[in-house]
Amino acid sequence: MNDFTNMNILDGVLGSLFYGDFSGLLIAIVIFIVLTFVGINFSRKFSSANEQFIRSNPTTISNPIVFNVSAVFIFLAAILSLLASIVGFDTSYFFESLVGLIVQIINTCLLLTFASVYFSPAKMNIRIDENSSVAEDFIAFLSFGLKLLAHFSKLIASALVIIAVIELFYAVLSMLGDDAYASIQLVTSSMGKFLVGIFAPVVIYIVFLFSYPIFNYLLAILQIPKINR
């Protein structure tokens, strides 16, 4: 459906371009810029709302050991993959190896950022409580993924926008070449990715809003035996 819509927009823009009509492209760019600024405004508000979601939904675990062990594994995976990339650096393919190394450094930084959250579950409003039952621990583990998504909504948005901008830059460069159709296709796909990135916190908010109540209901059920105790 998305590809079909993309192709229709693309055909419309390309068709008008080949006939020397730039109004389609101009309208697309104006809509893109307006959506970008509106999206940034929404994105900021929804990022704060996502953080507020985490603050207002505490969970408990009896022992943080599973998070700590996961953090150590994530840390080791990050460092070992970086070391493998450094060891595997091939000077005969310098440019490709350099790009690979830069991507790996970014990957390592992201993995270390995730590891930091696993080392300190308190960042996700997970409280260590010795009286926490196994079921409450289980809910804390299950809900952790969703909280992680909400916490890193800004990071996900930024990553998508940066990737889209790199693609757009490549598209502009290739537009100067011969294959105009492919480059316009790349422009539309990177525009789409850019807008998805801008609106990512909104999407994550909606996902959180419709998924997290399941955990609230489960936690509420667990509170019933504690009433009047």
Binding site: L17, F18, G20, F22, L25, L26, I29, F32, I33, T36, I40, N68, A71, V72, F75, C109, L110, L112, T113, A115, S116, V117, F119, S120, K154, L155, A157, S158, V161, I162, A164, V165, L168, F169, A171, V172, M175, L176, A180, V187, M191, F194, I198
Partner: protein, 68 residues
Amino acid sequence: MMNFLVKTNDLLDKINGYIESLFGRMKQLSDFTYVKVDRFIKQSFALAVFSGIILMVLVLIVSLIKFN
């Protein structure tokens, strides 16, 4: 025999202590990266957005030159 067992136990405790301090260092490095990445993301987002808009204007200019 008892002395050997005590020494082995001490050695295990020592190794455990080293591993714990290693985990502490891992946490420190992860937290440091977390703060740096967070700061970088805040700065790079604005830059990426404006670059995106400038690139879109460039697409329009290049199209005008290329297809006109």
